[in-house]
């Protein structure tokens, strides 16, 4: 009797659990997630992709309802945190002491690196190793070979110049720039490339929707 009742109870529990799971799944799929996801996806889902779209087109990000100021603040905070980590690493790992005249010029090397890697974080690592190998090698080879230290900086400048010329030739071939052309082709393959969204078009869209954004 007691075991039977327990089984019935447990079966009811199981049924109620199944019902609850079904309810939860339907809630998840339709009633709760879909409007919030479709409405607030760009605002709350991933600040990384939002800041990337912010970097691509600020007007479009504003029109999509993204919190542009908050995203800018988040990006600046992340950038500053990374830079502070870099400074701390240089003090603790490379130099070992902090001097008042500490100015290794990593900021401008970082600009050159980001430009060389074309904003791809994975390419930053080999390029950074290459640049640091150049500078370290210039420092260590200066005495035995009689090369001035500025030769390395000249080499880096020459490299950047060659890269800029190569980028100019690449952009000259396509009207909208090399990277955008590739991504447009991947997104809507077979269609002609769309013209870039201008401010006037966005203003028209805002007026058509009644200034929702």
């Amino acid at each position: 009797m007691s075991s039977h009742r327990r089984r019935r109870l447990s079966r009811r529990n199981c049924a109620s659990q199944v019902l609850a799971i079904q309810e939860f799944m339907s809630d998840c799929s339709l009633a709760w997630w879909w409007p919030s996801w479709s409405g607030c996806c760009f605002a709350t889902r991933s600040s990384g992709s939002c800041s990337m779209s912010l970097g691509r087109n600020r007007q479009a990000a504003l029109h999509a309802g993204m919190p542009v100021g908050g995203l800018t603040l988040i990006a600046l905070l992340a950038s500053g945190a990374m830079a502070g980590l870099a400074g701390a690493n240089d003090i603790l790992g490379v130099k070992g002491l902090f001097q008042g005249i500490w100015n290794p010029g990593y900021g401008f090397a970082a600009f050159a690196l980001v430009y060389l890697a074309r904003l791809n974080p994975l390419w930053i690592i080999p390029f950074a190793y290459f640049l640091s190998f150049l500078s370290i090698g210039g420092e260590m080879m200066a005495r035995p070979l009689g090369i001035p230290t500025y030769f390395v900086e000249m080499l880096e400048g020459l490299m950047l110049l060659c890269f800029a010329v190569a980028t100019w030739f690449e952009r000259r071939r396509s009207p909208y720039g090399a990277e955008e052309d590739v991504e447009v082709g991947a997104a809507n393959a077979g269609e002609p490339p769309q013209p870039p969204v201008t401010d006037a078009m966005l203003d028209g869209a805002v007026r058509a929707t009644g200034g929702r954004a």
Partner: protein
């Protein structure tokens, strides 16, 4: 120009590349969001000075100084 010299050069470059990678990564994060973070040198200086100053303060235990000194100073600097 023996192999030991080349090995020492490669190892020194490996050590020197780490802050360069971090600084360039920070710059890339900013540039992905459309910002040109020109103050990256000052942020690095802030992180370096706080990293050299905070662990030497006697009122703070070691782990707390680690936790505080990494995000706080460059974050506050970038909030300005």
């Amino acid at each position: 120009m023996n192999s030991a010299f080349v090995t020492a050069m490669l190892a020194a470059a490996m050590i020197a590349a780490v802050p360069l990678v971090l600084a360039a990564l920070g710059e890339a994060v900013g540039e992905k969001a459309g910002l040109l973070n020109l103050g990256i040198e000052g942020m690095m200086l802030c992180g370096a000075s706080s990293r050299s100053w905070l662990p030497t303060t006697p009122t703070m235990p070691g782990l707390a100084s680690w936790v505080v000194s990494f995000p706080a100073a460059p974050g506050l600097r970038s909030l300005r």
